[in-house]
């Protein structure tokens, strides 16, 4: 089948973006990542589209971009999901563009640092299941893209900190809790409008609602992981 790709391009953040169109003959099961690789090597080897990629099997989050208006991983989006045969690719919009489809996502890592997303002391094994789910976060940024409450520069850091924080909340030693719970309240709980738009967008399929309920219960309502019950079940 013939697919038309409209790709937003700009050499730098200061340049005005424009759309470049390509036509590719492909099978229906090909991924958008594959099409990008083919366009670059077959059609424009001297001026390839710049985009980030690494694992090509939706385990690393590198190739997140906006595909027909929805943030997704290019390696996970298949041609047959777009029956009209037209696919538009744009960079994620909540991060500054570096070049073409590459955005600078360093703000996410800055947020994790500001939140204090690490363990002080030894992990306490309270809730393996929550810790496992929370450790799966790709830091791709798709959840921030769709969040109505997240905007760059704000004090609300979004689901990209909720998920990693959920592991730390489940494992943090007693003496770390006060600071971590405080940061969580300030940078997540207070700003989250519970739209749950992040719930169905996560390319890793992380159950963000479950993590949110669990972490709120622990950090805000203090109903979980209390000293006397710290080995109890998660839910």
């Amino acid at each position: 089948m013939i697919i038309k790709l409209d790709i937003q391009r700009q050499r730098s953040s200061s340049e005005k973006p424009h759309i470049q169109s390509f036509s590719v003959d492909t099978d229906a099961l090909a991924s958008v990542a594959e099409l990008l690789e083919r366009i670059n090597s077959e059609q424009i080897p001297d001026d390839p589209i710049q985009w980030e990629r690494s694992c090509k099997q939706k385990k690393c989050g590198a190739c997140a971009m906006v595909i027909n208006g929805r943030p997704r991983l290019a390696c996970d989006a298949r041609v047959n999901e777009y029956p009209k045969g037209v696919i538009k690719l744009e960079p994620l919009k909540k991060f500054p563009v570096v070049c073409d489809l590459i955005v600078d996502r360093s703000i996410m890592f800055g947020h994790l640092k500001k939140l204090g997303a690490w363990l002080e002391g030894e992990a306490e094994t309270r809730d393996n299941d929550i810790s496992y789910e929370a450790s799966r976060c790709l830091q791709c940024g798709c959840c921030l893209e769709v969040c109505p409450n997240f905007y760059p520069g704000g004090e609300f850091f979004g689901t990209a900190v909720l998920v990693p924080a959920s592991r730390l909340i489940a494992q943090s030693p007693e003496e770390q809790k006060k600071r971590l719970y405080g940061e969580y309240g300030e940078h997540f709980y207070r700003g989250c409008g519970k739209s749950l738009s992040c719930k169905d967008i996560c390319p890793a399929g992380i159950d963000t609602e479950r993590l949110l309920v669990n972490s709120n219960a622990a950090a805000v309502w203090k109903r979980k992981y209390r000293k006397s019950k710290d080995s109890g079940p998660s839910e």
Binding site: S31, K56, C60, F109, A123, Y132, G205
Partner: protein, 521 residues
């Protein structure tokens, strides 16, 4: 100040170790840690913790690692690795890795290839991602105190070598194109050269092979480059091979072919003791031969219990269903061996020092621990422990300055190799370095490579490094582990040596060096 190239498992482990000593380092990587190949590791990490009541111990782990590697690994390095493995895994527990646990709270261990005891600690089938998350968070703590400085979109251009010693490293910021010279010793932790075989490996695109080619061109010695691991169970997905973890067989998966209309479980018949869990080199070779006679090989996981699918292999099942629209719980899946790991790499001693003072190497980019064939579960262990050891060594000579200087942005070395050229090299290499090889086949591949025209420095470096791989395979006139030659099918004592490739005055030179004797315990 110490410069670490690569922010996967080995790089993070080195950074953490240095920071724990209060020493500064820079963590330089093409992309953030979340994108590193280490996140793809699935099955687990080995340590003789003996929590399953089978009487495992570190000596057996040592022996099986040496035997799996067909006695080509440095026994002193392996003894340190296996002896420290329980402490490494216990440390990972303290960092919060959510390993699966037994009812009594102890670590659950699973069976893995080439090992008679359950020894592999795991977190379902995403162990690499779980360990990476815990280490990334831990290193963030030291980023906050300033001990670790990240350069998260920067690639290696070249080492800076003065009077035969590494004085620093030149890196390129891929966002701005600017280049910087960073002073201080270097720990190479940039992973295996998957990009030498484009689309043919289970690895990431980021592991382009460029850094290895550059270092080789600069005189860094590489060892055992002919030792390339074909993982028995992979499946093709767009642009790469998708790994079906060894855990699938560890938890009961069985390989078979159809013979006279009935399934023939050839591994179980040929190797009654370990069956489907023979070392990977053996399984892949058997699959190669039975496939040529009976057609496609299938992995039958239909006998695995609901409980195991749910608690130990859920992500593997999701992945297979997603990519292949097949449910491994109800249907056998077709599998083929695919390139998965490079046992060879930068030639290091047991302290992870290289032939150039000031350069250390750890993780898959280094040749250490795995000999002629790596056991499943030993790669993550080798990366974490290797990173720790390299950091210990580097910390003894940390460099006198932490200078950063912007430099000539037009350095031609260290650029990416065009996809078409990389593909041509990959095709030649895979023709010469398959699961079953021959002297003639390797020679023909080397001849084709020789006439391949290159237009710039990155292409020339890639070609020379590929040449070193082929010449290493040609020089080893025997069969051992992953290197199987039909024209020299026996393992011979005279090749109980390390293959060393070096680039001297524009020529690839291959020599064989003695493996160190094991010191008395």
């Amino acid at each position: 100040m110490i410069n670490i190239i690569g922010a996967g498992l080995a790089g993070l482990s080195a950074a953490m170790t240095l920071a724990e000593k209060g020493m500064n380092c820079r963590l330089i990587s093409a992309q953030p840690s979340e994108r590193a190949q280490s996140v793809l590791a699935e099955g687990g990490i080995n340590a003789a913790l003996d929590t399953m009541g089978e009487g495992d111990d570190i000596n057996l782990h040592f022996e099986e690692t040496m035997k799996g590697g067909v006695m080509l690994a440095d026994p002193n390095a392996v003894a340190a690795l296996t002896g420290n493995a329980p402490a490494v895994v216990e440390k990972l527990c303290r960092l919060g890795v959510p390993f699966n646990r037994n009812a009594d709270g102890s670590l659950m261990l699973r069976s893995f290839g080439g090992q008679k005891k359950k020894r592999t600690a795991f977190a379902k089938s995403s162990t690499g991602k779980m360990i990476m998350t815990a280490l990334t968070d831990e290193v963030r703590k030291y980023e906050n105190t300033g001990l670790v400085e990240r350069f998260p979109h920067h690639t290696l251009v070249r080492l800076l070598i003065i009077d035969g010693s590494v004085s620093g490293v030149r890196i390129r910021d891929s966002y701005t194109g600017k280049m910087y010279d960073l002073a201080g010793p270097v720990i190479a932790a940039f992973g295996g050269p998957a990009g030498l075989f484009p689309s043919m490996t289970t690895g990431t695109v980021t592991n382009s092979g460029t850094a290895a080619s550059v270092l080789f061109g600069q005189g860094v010695r590489f060892a055992n480059l002919e030792m390339i691991q074909y993982h028995p169970t992979t499946m093709e997905i767009p642009g790469k091979r998708c790994l079906v973890s060894e855990a699938a067989r560890g938890e009961g998966g069985r390989l078979f072919v159809r013979k006279d209309g009935f399934p023939w479980y050839f591994m179980e018949e040929k190797y009654p003791e370990l069956g489907n869990l023979m070392p990977r080199d053996v399984v892949s070779r058997e699959m190669y031969y039975v496939k040529s006679e009976y057609g496609d090989v299938f992995l039958d996981m239909t006998g695995i219990s609901d409980d195991v699918w749910k608690n130990k292999l859920s992500d593997l099942r999701d992945e297979i269903m997603h990519y292949f629209s097949l449910d491994p719980k109800t249907d056998p899946i077709p599998v083929e061996p695919g390139i998965h790991y490079f046992m060879g790499g930068i030639y290091t001693d047991e302290h992870h020092r290289t032939n150039i003072p000031g350069l250390y190497a750890a993780g898959e980019c280094a040749c250490q621990y795995h000999g002629a064939n790596r056991l499943g579960g030993n790669s993550m262990l080798g990366a974490v422990f290797g990173g720790m050891t390299a950091a210990e060594s580097a910390s003894r000579l940390p460099g006198l300055t932490d200078e950063i200087m912007e430099t000539d942005p037009d350095d031609p070395v260290g650029g990416e190799v065009p996809a078409e050229f990389a593909k041509q090299v990959g095709k030649i290499l895979s023709d010469g370095l398959g699961i079953v090889r021959s002297g003639d086949g390797i020679k023909k591949a080397a001849d084709r490579l020789r006439v391949l025209k290159c237009s710039d420095a990155p292409e020339k470096l890639r070609k020379e490094f590929a040449h070193a791989m082929l010449l290493s395979a040609l020089g080893r006139m025997e069969s051992r582990g992953a290197h199987f030659r039909e024209d020299c099918p026996d393992t011979t004592e005279i090749f109980s040596k390390t293959t060393v490739a070096e680039y001297i005055e524009g020529t690839v030179r291959i020599t064989f060096e003695d493996i160190p004797e094991r010191r008395n315990k």
